[in-house]
Amino acid sequence: MVAPIVSIQQVSKQFSTKQKQEIVLDKVSFDVNKGEIIAILGKSGCGKSTLLNLIGGFEQASKGSILLDGKEIRKPSKRCVMLMQNYALLPWRSVEKNVALALEGEKLTKEEIDEKAAHYLTMVGLLDKRKALPSELSGGMQQRVAIARALAIQPELILMDEPFAALDTFTRYYLQDELIQIQQREQTTIVLVTHDIDEAIYLADRIFIMSANPGRVHKEIAIKGSKPRNRADTDFQHYRELIFNEFQFTTNKQPIEYNI
């Protein structure tokens, strides 16, 4: 096997506020290989977003190190793009200009930028909306623009923090399908944080289940079977049940109410 694209080694993170010191992540280690989709599942507050921020370079680990292609990540870069739940499009720029945003820093002519933006907008099926403002699009469309923007700079890694959480079931299903297609075509590596067990099973090659207080990788589950998967399949049911039981376990017998 080739060297992993991302290597997370014994990473801990603690936040100190006035009241207390909180260990949010505790000795988390795992590798991500090129072309893989990794899903991270876990309860609210277990440190999923924090972990993603560390990989993206938006925050620094307290202990341990995170390597991208063998080099330590110290600050955010175009090689590793973060995609957020609330789409994070610039509302004052048209769809096209939003996609162009990351390209403007590169040595490209205006034509090349336009062409590239058009290419990726075609890929997410929104070429005809390229002059529209984000506010004129539905949530699902906005997230597709964000995906096109992320793809346009051809990052080695895309980080997604609950990318489809704000969408309704049907749109979510549709975007999940689309994501798999694009990912297979472009061979992008994706680390995905989600609340939704079905989403994780549907998309991921491997799922990491995190436990909370402090955040640890509680279990790694490899999902077999080719994509796209069938949600009504018995295998799918099997994984669902497996993960659900793991979750019950991570709560350590405390009443479920505790986590609400």
């Binding site: 938006f58 955010p76 175009k78 994070a88 610039l90 509302p91 004052w92 945003l101 820093g105 403002l133």
Partner: protein, 247 residues
Amino acid sequence: MLIGFGALLIVWQLASILSGHNQALFPPPLLVGEALLEMIRSGSIFTHIQISFLRFFSGYLAAVILAIVLGLIVGQLPAIWRVLDPIVQVLRPVSPIAWSPFIVLWFGIGNMPAIVIIFIAAFFPVLLSTVSAVKKVDAMYLRIAANFEMTHTERMWKIIFPAAFPMIANGLHMAIGSAWIFLVAGEMIGAQSGLGFLIVDARNALSLDIVMACIIIIGILGLLLDQAIRLFEGWVARIWGGQAAIK
């Protein structure tokens, strides 16, 4: 709209009859209307309006440009803002009128005091709203800037300025109102023309019908300015869409 003004005229006329004041001390609508018509017929009012507008926009635009640029810079530098903030906070509540001896000393008489007073009145609201807008720019946008490896200048003009813009526009709105209110005060200092001068002059001549006519003109022009900047805000809201920080 028309009903409102109609009602106002009736109340005013009734008040002027019932109060039994001398017409010279409390001019009824008709007298004021005449004064207004006379000023329009002679065209003198338009010269005054023109010069007032000239002073107003010189002061206002200078304040807006300076305050936005300064605000964008210091809004990103908390250390410097911590030094400037108390100074601004102490200067802001002081009436531009209180400054007038010093304004005359530094800027002379004529156009400049009016421009300076309007500048002062507009500067602080715009500066404060720009600084607080910059501080409130959603961290999400700053993350995008970092993620796409933008330079400082790129970040300022591509992200921070447009993200802060709706709130800055709101500051512009507030500032145009408060600056216009100080036009009268500004044109009291040695100006030989303009609406403020006209009011002071008419007051000294005890021509209260002209004072009232000027009040009406100032009110209507203020309303028009407000409407104009509201259109501008509407445009901002349309483009900036759901993101508008303050609606």
